[in-house]
């Protein structure tokens, strides 16, 4: 699992950091003047500074004291209480965190963590106010609250805006102004479809004066395959979808039909509960269809180690752990992986919980040894395959017959030299060869399939599978307080339990990711960790409202997605206003639109689209866009990358062959994850090696050339008109007068260097394809 949230600290800003810290305290905790709230104010401090020794893990617990439970913290021991509610003087915790005595002070000097004065002040007030505890917010069911009242009633477009605006008004802030129509249509189209709008679509949108023009275009775009493809991209990061096995062996696997399944499922807006059940346990559904079995490949996306060094069991178990951990990240937003070797140190997840869940994923068929290890496969022959197979069977039979007949007509000596027999044999051989090739071309999709008798599951002491502890039966983590008779007995029951609408986490985690897709960050900024160490929601009531809306709409993801995109919040400009700069630098309050750099796939696809090269539509098998020759060989990786030709050369990047140990370098450099593990949020970096990709990678050079050729073709004459057309294609807007003038001057510069108009205009298009405006969400 991988979440990339932190940013590194650039040098030399310590002082400003300290100042900023004070500002943020005001923003992140606007109600700090009111009573202390345990979850919001105290828990983050205890979890970070105290729980590793005084938390849920009994093995690490010091002095038998646990501070994560009120009973533990307030229990009397030898006449002392760690926390004596309301009585600072009698609270040992207060004395220990404020003493100067190095033998007494907490956290102890050898621990690198310290409490700062502000944190101590919070602890003090909390104890004085009676040390109230709250259950962790994310483990309580979401509650739908009424829409908050707002003063500016003209602004909200839907429920989302009420929550956002109410908070802004509470802070004395106003929302940002609406972005230009050109930027809005480009933003919506890129976000929803991953592709830029055609100039004609922009023109229609700008000319549309109806009040619901945004809602209309959103609905229109959501009905396209491109929408499903773009949304699938994020899901494939979570599903750790790749076309290779991972580990050093890293051979190809035929798992692309699963990728197609995801696209189709999103295209038909399969409700999220069904989407969940089919992927986690489609194989176990009564009368499972082929499509449902394909969906179950979700958990065959786990990397598969192969080799002959360790017992087969060890290779198998790696995959089981990955399935548990990925399920934890994707649906529960919990860092279950911590509990594989020991009880979780911060969240109430025991090692027993971990292996009880492990038991649910431990029953998949595993076959073969060493490098031939495998799991269940589904042969996916298309109708055309079947037809051709039948034809070839008949051809082979007929050719065999003719050979036999001819042989019977000849004696042995004559048969050796008979040209007719030779010809018949060649025909037979050709048919046999084609039949073999056809069989080999049928994808063998890795899918899930349950053993008739489940394996025994035992706790692996310290995570070591050779060191077995208690036997466990399938169960969900105890924090969900499910009575024994309701515990899931298998994967299917588990999947159904996840989406029965009574889980506090699943819907929140899902809508949070949707929010992240629309607003750069989730309402909870740690999308893979809703536990005690995770971030608190910036708008808890909104998160809960959306979670309830998702469930009550029948898990209609598209409906919630529409709410997010149709809101006034979404339409704000990305401009950082001076007022806001001082108050909401992190954009916690949504005072503006985020403008992250586009994902690597979108940067390439957009360039191809603008150049008129992009090939849309389904791909099926993965494709091989131009890659530096010898790139795999330099790294001694097995296999050979052969650049695709024809349409496949310019297909959407979603379909690019995804090799875990050597991703296409341009995708890798633009921060696409290797997908060896579940990725809930990509990092977005901004480095010179990326500039070299969009300037010089043959893919982008070709795009710039084709873009230039398109300009020359579509605007037969007139530099200004061509520049304007180029702007419209790349940026969906007309150039400003100064921009146009600057580009015309640039043209004169280039013409002084070369008489070749194609080269001159390719210089123009290369600049456009590298503009910050082009590379970023508008």
């Amino acid at each position: 699992m991988k979440v990339r949230t932190n940013k590194t600290i650039p040098p030399g800003w310590v002082l400003i950091g300290m100042l900023a810290m004070m500002t943020v305290a005001v923003i992140a905790r606007p109600e700090l003047s009111g009573p202390i709230q345990f979850n919001r104010d105290v828990l983050p401090i205890l979890a970070d500074k105290c729980f590793s020794c005084h938390g849920p893990d009994p093995n690490q617990r010091k002095s038998g004291l646990r501070l994560d439970l009120r009973d533990g913290a307030t229990a009397e021991k030898k006449g002392l209480r760690a926390i004596s509610p309301g009585d600072l003087a009698r609270s040992a915790v207060w004395r220990r965190i404020t003493t100067d005595n190095p033998d007494e002070v907490m956290p102890p000097p050898k621990v690198p963590k310290k409490l700062n004065p502000a944190e101590k002040a919070v602890i003090r007030r909390w104890i004085e106010e009676g040390a109230p505890y709250q259950n962790h917010w994310a483990f309580e069911l979401p509650r739908r609250s009424a829409l908050p009242a707002v003063r500016n009633r003209a602004w909200p477009k839907n429920a989302v805006d009420h929550f956002i605006l109410a908070r802004l008004e509470q802070e004395g802030l106003s929302p940002g102004r609406e972005v230009s129509g050109e930027s809005l249509i480009r933003r919506i189209t890129l976000d929803l479809t991953g592709l830029p709008p055609a100039p004609e679509r922009v023109r229609i949108f700008l000319g549309d004066r109806r009040p619901d023009r945004v809602e209309r275009v959103v609905a229109e775009l959501m009905a396209t395959r491109a929408y499903a493809e773009r949304q699938a991209q994020d899901w494939l990061d979570l599903a750790r979808y790749a076309d290779s096995n991972g580990y050093a062996d890293d051979q190809t696997r035929d798992i692309w039909p699963y990728r197609e399944w995801v696209i189709n499922a999103i295209a038909r807006n399969l409700p999220f509960d069904q989407f969940t059940i089919e992927q986690l346990a489609g194989d176990m559904l009564p009368g499972a269809t082929t499509e449902q079995r394909i969906a179950s490949a979700f958990h065959r996306n786990a990397p598969q180690a192969k080799g002959n060094t360790y017992p087969v069991e060890e290779y198998r178990l790696k995959g089981v752990s990955d399935r548990v951990n990925t399920t934890g990240t994707v649906w529960l937003g919990l860092t279950l992986a911590c509990a594989e070797c020991h009880d979780h140190k911060f969240d109430p997840i025991t090692q027993r919980d971990y292996f009880s869940m492990f038991a649910l994923f431990n029953n998949v068929v595993h076959t073969g040894e060493a490098f031939a290890q495998d799991g269940p496969n589904l042969q996916l022959a298309s109708a055309a395959h079947h037809t051709r197979q039948r034809e070839l069977d008949q051809q082979v039979a007929a050719a065999t017959k003719r050979v036999e007949v001819r042989e019977s007509e000849l004696d042995a000596g004559a048969a050796k030299v008979d040209s007719e027999l030779k010809r018949l044999k060649e025909i037979l051989a050709a048919s046999v060869k084609e039949r073999t090739e056809l069989e080999q071309s049928i994808p063998r999709l890795p899918v899930m399939e349950e053993l008739a008798t489940p394996r025994d599951t035992r706790i692996h002491l310290r995570g070591n599978f050779l060191n077995k502890g208690d036997a466990v039966s399938p169960a969900v983590p105890a924090l969900f307080t499910l009575p024994p008779e309701q515990q899931p007995r298998n994967r299917l029951e588990f999947a159904r339990w996840l989406v029965d609408g009574r889980n506090p986490l699943v819907a929140r985690v899902a809508v949070n990711r949707l929010w992240q897709a629309c607003y750069g960050h989730g309402l909870v900024r740690t999308p893979a960790d809703f536990g005690r160490q995770g971030a608190l929601p910036s708008h808890p009531e909104l998160l809960d409202w959306l979670a309830c809306e998702l469930v009550e709409s029948g898990w209609d993801v598209r409906h919630v997605h529409q709410l997010l995109v149709n809101s006034a919040t979404y339409r704000q400009s990305a401009r950082v206003s001076a007022a806001v700069e001082q108050r909401d630098l992190q954009n916690m309050l949504l005072t503006r639109a985020p403008r992250p750099r586009l994902p690597g796939e979108q940067i390439r696809d957009q360039a191809l689209a603008v150049a008129g090269l992009l090939v849309t539509g389904p791909s099926g098998k993965p494709v091989f866009p131009v890659q530096t020759s010898g790139y795999w060989e330099e790294r001694a990786l097995p296999g050979k990358w052969v650049d695709s030709s024809g349409a496949d050369r310019h297909r959407r990047s979603l379909y690019t062959y995804w090799r875990r140990m050597a991703l296409h370098p341009s995708l890798e450099l633009l921060d696409a994850p290797a997908r060896s593990v579940c990725t809930a949020k990509r990092s977005v970096s901004n480095v010179p090696t990326q500039a070299l990709v969009t300037l010089n990678d043959p893919i982008f050079v070709e795009a710039a050339e084709a873009f230039a050729a398109r300009l020359l073709r579509e605007v037969p004459s007139g530099d200004s008109a061509r520049v304007a057309h180029a702007f419209h294609l790349a940026l969906c807007r007309a150039p400003a007068q100064t921009e146009s003038a600057r580009f015309l001057a640039f043209l004169r510069q280039q013409r002084a260097r070369t008489p070749d108009e194609k080269i001159v205009w390719t210089a123009v298009t290369a600049v456009l394809l590298n503009l910050d405006e082009f590379l970023c969400r508008p």
Binding site: M21, Y310, A528, D529, R575, R595, T628, M661, A674, A691
Partner: protein
């Protein structure tokens, strides 16, 4: 000090935004300590400012190179004693109970310090007084890729940050024109593959990942402009680009835009600095000879010389992978080949750094992901040695390391560590210490906890510090 990342020239907004986020406890990190490190002021005085890690991929044989075992030679051909195999899972490839195998090499003591090396390393012998040879290394796995991950990341996993990424994250870069972390590769084609994760940034921002330089006319991918773009024309393109981007910044005030302008400018500078830097023809003849380097002919020797040129320009961490040490068969032939390619340049690098006054603050590390078994893996008429994680040798030089010492020991077979064990975590703690970093305080918060290079272990090996 400057940061490679254009963040360093960005407006104040992103910095403050970041700090605010940390302060808010959202993905907060060990703010104070790290800040110091990022500001180029490590936790305490650094002895080393930069690192060259000579990674002998595949695993060199410690009992044939650094760790002579007379007793092993005596018992050559006898079954391995059972007690050595206690608590021992199994060999990587050997099956059954193998025989002990002594070394065919001659060992002698060298220099004033008397560091012992075999006759496979005649050049290294000449700089032996600079070496700190650790004969008691231990790692957690006997499989190549998890082993390389372990040596790089302190974890066998494929998704953790590598040492160079941690250093880029913790210390930043010291030059404007080059990445902080560069990877060079050489060696035999039959070696193990080099995986993306070997220079990955794991959960750290991807800008901290290593940049592999290729043995190709374009050392950095897509460094060269396409043939129809002249350098003056590219300059004019970038001027226009910067002008447009600046306008965009004026309109939106997003500091990332300034970072992007800086990125493009650095890319432009790299287009001239990198080819110049990698052009070994600029080195005098005697220098090429010292290393055994031949411009235009990729080799470990070329890479050693290039590594010196890179660190001279302020690159923080250079890792060289020399492939082909995985001698399961015919170790005499294969290790002869590897040593012939690696010995002279390794020694030349030490000598060259020394004479330039760079050795004192440049840490050189030499070793593989594990050693090789003191038992034979018999393959037909020849024999080799299998992977051996329980005791092996790594040497360090320069950068605040005590020169001319041998530290730790394996048992009489060269099998288990007998004295002063140094686990990979301890080696990492020591490397960070030499760079002025407390390994317990260089942390990154993800998945709800503070991750370290050294996981939850690691002790600085004080005895090898100068």
């Amino acid at each position: 000090m400057n940061d490679l990342s254009p963040h360093s020239s960005a407006g104040a907004l992103s910095r403050r935004a970041f700090l605010q986020r940390s302060a808010a406890g959202l993905g907060a990190i060990a703010l104070g300590s790290l800040l110091q490190a990022r500001a180029g002021q490590p936790h305490f005085a650094a002895r080393a400012k930069r690192v060259i890690f000579l990674f002998m991929a595949g695993g060199p044989s410690h009992v044939d190179l650094f760790d002579p075992k007379p007793r092993l030679n005596e018992l050559d051909g006898q079954k391995i004693p059972a007690e050595l195999l206690k608590d021992h899972q199994q060999f990587a490839l050997i099956r059954g109970t193998p025989n002990l195998k002594g070394s065919t090499r001659m060992f002698s003591r060298h220099g004033q310090s008397g560091v012992t090396l075999s006759d496979w390393l005649p050049h290294l012998a000449k700089v032996s007084d600079e070496l700190a040879v650790i004969r008691s290394m231990k790692t957690d796995t006997n499989v190549h890729d998890p082993g390389v991950n372990m040596m790089n990341c302190g974890s066998v996993m494929f998704d953790r940050p590598t040492l160079g990424a941690w250093l880029s994250y913790g210390l930043g870069s010291e030059n404007q024109d080059l990445p902080a972390y560069i990877v060079l590769t050489s060696g035999s084609d039959d070696g193990q593959p080099l995986l993306q994760s070997f220079w990955g940034s794991g959960f750290l921002e991807s800008r901290h990942q290593g940049v592999p330089f290729r043995n190709a006319p374009d050392p950095v991918l897509h460094l060269a402009n396409p043939s129809h773009v002249s350098r003056p024309s590219r300059r004019e393109q970038l001027d226009l680009l910067a002008w447009m981007n600046q306008r965009q910044h004026d309109a939106l005030r997003d500091p990332e835009i300034l970072s992007r302008i800086a990125s493009y400018e650095m890319a432009f500078r790299m287009q001239s600095s990198v080819p110049e830097l990698t052009d070994l023809r600029q080195e005098p003849e005697h220098m090429l000879k010292l290393y055994g380097a031949e411009p235009g002919k990729p080799s470990f020797a070329n890479n050693c010389l290039l590594a010196r040129r890179l660190i001279e320009k302020g690159v923080r961490f250079v890792q060289l992978y020399d492939r082909g040490w995985d001698s399961h068969t015919d170790i005499d032939r294969e290790h002869t080949r590897q040593c012939a390619a690696a010995d002279r340049p390794s020694a030349a690098l030490i000598a060259d750094l020394k004479q330039r006054g760079l050795l004192s603050d440049t840490l050189v590390i030499w070793g593989g992901e594990f050693g090789r078994t003191p038992v034979a893996q018999v393959m037909g008429k020849t024999y080799g040695r299998d992977h051996h994680p329980h005791g092996f040798t790594v040497w360090l030089a320069g950068g605040g390391v005590r020169p001319g010492i041998t530290y730790g020991a394996t048992d009489e077979f060269g099998y288990h560590v007998a004295e002063n064990p140094v686990h990979v975590h301890d080696l990492h703690a020591t490397i960070l210490h030499l760079l002025g970093i407390d390994h317990e305080r260089l942390t990154f918060r993800t998945q709800g906890r503070d991750f370290r290079l050294t996981d939850v272990a690691g002790d600085v090996v004080k005895d090898i510090l100068a």
